[in-house]
């Protein structure tokens, strides 16, 4: 958490992504990383010599590689350079962005390249996630990241019909966005008239969490390049600035389903971040929000937390199209996590896609109008959250 003003400003000067898909038999992990590294260097118009430090992150137990940055070295370009490996579960990609922000702002490095990746096809994803639970107890109970509790809570609060429709509205909105993003993994071409059918016939996973609601399992890598203000101005004319970031973790147990619900980390993080940056009304302030939304139930539910909304404000906004790509506050014009989920990269895709929106370089899924202020979130662990604020101008 930033308690003080940063030592120096940090800009995002390059972004590279592989295409995302359910399988990438044509390349191994190091090759996949290399593809994204090359795209990012190309985007920034740099060569590897310009990079001072590389940061790497993915989950060891998904691909079953111990310290994978050692093998991936042949693709990361870290040879002879400084390197860190930082992982925090689902939030890894966002943590890498925070780390780059810290490392560059510290003055220790001028140009940092961060890599988030996962090749989920090379392991068992749900099994890998289940392994996060304590082997002595909860590992026997957990089913990956699947839970129907949010669906039950929303149905309780807003009624079955409204809640289920809201989840489907969110789901189809995400698919429509994904269809505009050529790199997105799952692009179904869903339409709103399929909502009723899908919400009743899509196979149930857990309770009212159905297959259609759940995020994908993808292979892919995302790379971002960061530079100090001075360097960024010298190297790039399209820098996007990291204004601030916040990380909020909580304990191991999923003990938030009792008689009293604790303040969600999402809400806590947003409250603290907006307070210290003087953001009074996040819906008004931000022009785009790239949110880590693992399911079409968590998506709308978490909008209330992150945007500090109350009651059914978030459902209303969703219903009236405020979060649509041409709405008041577009959410996940990229299609979000439901479309694309290479876990170690997923949380980096959020600030990366948000930065592309600010740059105006998002292509077909570029939202209309100037994007000056962007918000990006990461999610992982037992409700861990990371929030990152991006700005077009250095004027805050």
């Amino acid at each position: 958490m930033a308690k003080h003003k940063k030592n120096r400003n940090v800009g995002i000067i390059g972004i590279g992504q592989t295409e995302y898909s359910s399988h990438k038999e044509h390349q191994n992990q190091a090759e996949m990383v290399n593809e994204a590294v090359r795209y990012a260097l190309e985007d920034a118009n740099l060569i590897m010599d310009d990079i001072d430090c590389v940061i790497h992150g993915n989950m060891e137990l998904f691909e079953m590689i111990y310290q994978p940055d050692m093998w991936h070295e042949i693709g990361t370009g870290a040879y002879g350079k400084e390197e860190f490996r930082i992982t925090t579960g689902g939030t890894t990609g966002a943590s890498l962005v925070c780390a780059a922000d810290n490392l560059v702002a510290s003055g220790m490095y001028d140009v940092v390249l961060a890599i988030g990746l996962e090749k989920l096809q090379e392991g068992h994803t749900t099994g890998g996630i289940t392994n996060m639970a304590c082997p002595l107890w909860f590992r026997h109970i957990q089913t990956g990241a699947l839970t129907g509790t949010t669906a039950s809570a929303m149905i309780d609060e807003f009624g079955e019909e409204r809640a289920k429709k809201a989840a489907m509205k969110y789901r189809i909105m995400m698919d429509k966005n994904a269809c505009l993003n050529p790199r997105a993994h799952r692009r179904f071409g869903l339409d709103y008239d399929q909502a009723d059918d899908l919400m009743n016939t899509s196979p149930q996973l857990v309770g009212d969490l159905r297959l259609i609601h759940m995020c994908s399992q993808s292979d892919g890598a995302c790379v971002m390049i960061f530079a100090s203000e001075e360097k960024a101005k010298e190297l790039s004319d399209k820098s996007i600035w990291i204004r601030d970031h916040i990380t909020v973790h909580r304990e191991e147990t999923f003990n938030m389903f009792g008689f009293k619900k604790p303040e969600m980390t999402h809400h806590y993080a947003a409250r603290k971040l907006f307070e210290r940056n003087g953001v009074k009304d996040p819906v008004e302030y931000f022009d785009v929000f790239e949110m880590y939304d693992p399911s079409a139930w968590w998506g709308p539910d978490w909008l209330r937390e992150f945007l500090l909304l109350e009651g059914d404000e978030h459902i209303k906004m969703l219903e009236q199209g405020d979060f649509d790509i041409d709405g008041k506050l577009p959410v996940n014009p990229s299609g979000g996590v439901i479309a694309t989920n290479p876990i170690g990269a997923t949380a980096m895709l959020r600030p990366a896609e948000a930065a592309l929106q600010v740059r105006g370089d998002a292509g077909k899924h570029q939202i209309k109008g100037e994007v000056k202020h962007a918000l990006a979130s990461g999610f992982g662990g037992t409700m861990w959250t990371v929030l990152i604020m991006l700005e077009k101008y250095l004027d805050w």
Partner: protein
């Protein structure tokens, strides 16, 4: 016409003219005789002389030939299109050769371009019909399932595949007791089998509807070889390595979790109690995360409690205890044990008999294993406390 591997014997002779390569036939003066038995077979005379070719279907005895090849129709087609190993067929006597064998092995390949069967549109029926051939008994050990195919639209129909005792048979119509029934458009079925669309995506987006055991649907794919259209070019197959890294672990329980397991032996739930805020934690923790103080005092909770949230799981995930796919659906209720502080929910399995009835707010009680050893399995599940 009888087809083998999707190709008729006649197809091969009828295409000889177009496959004939003059440049390979220089100096060859030979008459090839073919005596092919079985359905679709017959006798052919192929004359190559002065860089010219003549192919005739004939009756009667074969005489005065440079070489005569005597085989059955299936082997002939198989060897020609590379599905049957020629050397093996020859050594096993399925192919007999009379005359100059060198003409067959050395000269023939130079005279003719390789026969490639024309690609044809696969139908859902082709795919269903080939299932028995594509069945992999070695993958079906212990599998007993009935898979229904309800394919709608053009070229659709209803079929049932029965897999039992490592055999597979396919019947017309839908059986009444299918383990799982797959419903989709026939076109989607064909595209899926040809790998043109992604299975998970088709399933997720609702193009494929699955009734019954989802896990069975997932495992059934592995029971069959991939369907291939006769004559289609095979893409270069990339090699992937399969391995299951395994490192045995021995997890310490320490004094805190140790106390918990001791408690289970005596049908007791021990929670740690925070010395500062009074929060109870189950399973117990070394520390109260909120107050950041060590917890040493233990209190007994429950054993009964109140359900707060109910998760009914339909997704067939592996059971970490056994590695087997868990039977679905199963219940995973969250509940508050009596005496717990208000944020401290607990979760465990549910007695399957209560799956339909369980609701938030209901009272629940633990059901213990008869023999308890201080482990997870000491507690069978919770059930409604009527």
């Amino acid at each position: 016409m009888a087809e083998y591997f999707g190709v008729a014997v006649e197809d091969i002779f009828n295409t000889m003219e177009e496959r004939f390569r003059k440049e390979g036939a220089g100096g060859v003066d030979a008459i090839f005789g073919y005596d092919i038995s079985g359905e679709g077979g017959g006798k052919w005379k192929v004359t190559v002389k002065d860089e010219n070719l003549k192919v005739e279907k004939i009756e009667g005895d074969l005489e005065g030939y440079s070489v005569i090849l005597d085989t059955d129709a299936e082997t002939f087609v198989g060897v020609t299109i590379g599905k049957v190993d020629a050397g093996e067929a020859f050594s096993s006597g399925r192919i007999k050769v009379d005359g100059d064998i060198g003409l067959l092995t050395n000269v023939l390949p130079q005279i003719f371009a390789k026969y490639t069967p024309p690609a044809k549109e696969a139908t859902a029926k082709d795919i269903i019909d080939s299932m028995v051939d594509r069945f992999r008994p070695e993958k079906a050990e212990g599998v007993d399932m009935t898979i229904g195919y309800d394919l709608t639209g053009d070229g659709g129909g209803k079929w049932t595949a029965l897999v039992k005792d490592q055999t597979c048979k396919v019947e017309e119509g839908l059986a009444s007791d299918c383990t799982v029934t797959l419903q989709m458009d026939a076109k989607v079925f064909v595209d899926l089998n040809l790998g043109l669309i992604d299975g998970t995506a088709a399933f997720t987006s609702g193009q494929v509807k699955i009734e019954g055991d989802m896990g069975a649907a997932a495992t059934s794919a592995a029971l069959f070889e991939k369907f291939k259209v006769a004559g289609a070019e095979e893409a270069e197959e990339l090699i992937s390595l399969k391995c299951l890294p395994s490192v045995d672990q021995r997890f310490a329980t320490g004094p805190v979790m140790g106390k918990w397991f001791e408690g289970l032996k005596e049908k007791k739930f021990y929670a740690t109690k925070c010395p500062k805020c009074g929060r109870t934690q189950i399973p117990p923790r070394e520390i109260c995360a909120n107050c950041r103080v060590r917890c040493t005092e233990c209190v007994e909770l429950g054993p009964k409690g109140t359900a707060t949230f109910i998760d009914i799981v339909y997704y067939a995930s592996p059971d970490p205890l056994t590695g087997e796919v868990r039977e679905t659906p199963y219940g995973g209720p969250f509940f508050m044990l009596d005496g717990a502080t208000e944020e401290e929910s607990f979760a465990h399995g549910l007695n399957p008999k209560d799956l339909e009835r369980i609701k938030p707010g209901m009272r629940i009680r633990p059901v213990w294993a008869e023999e308890r050893t201080g482990s997870y399995t000491d507690l069978l599940y919770f059930e409604i406390d009527d």
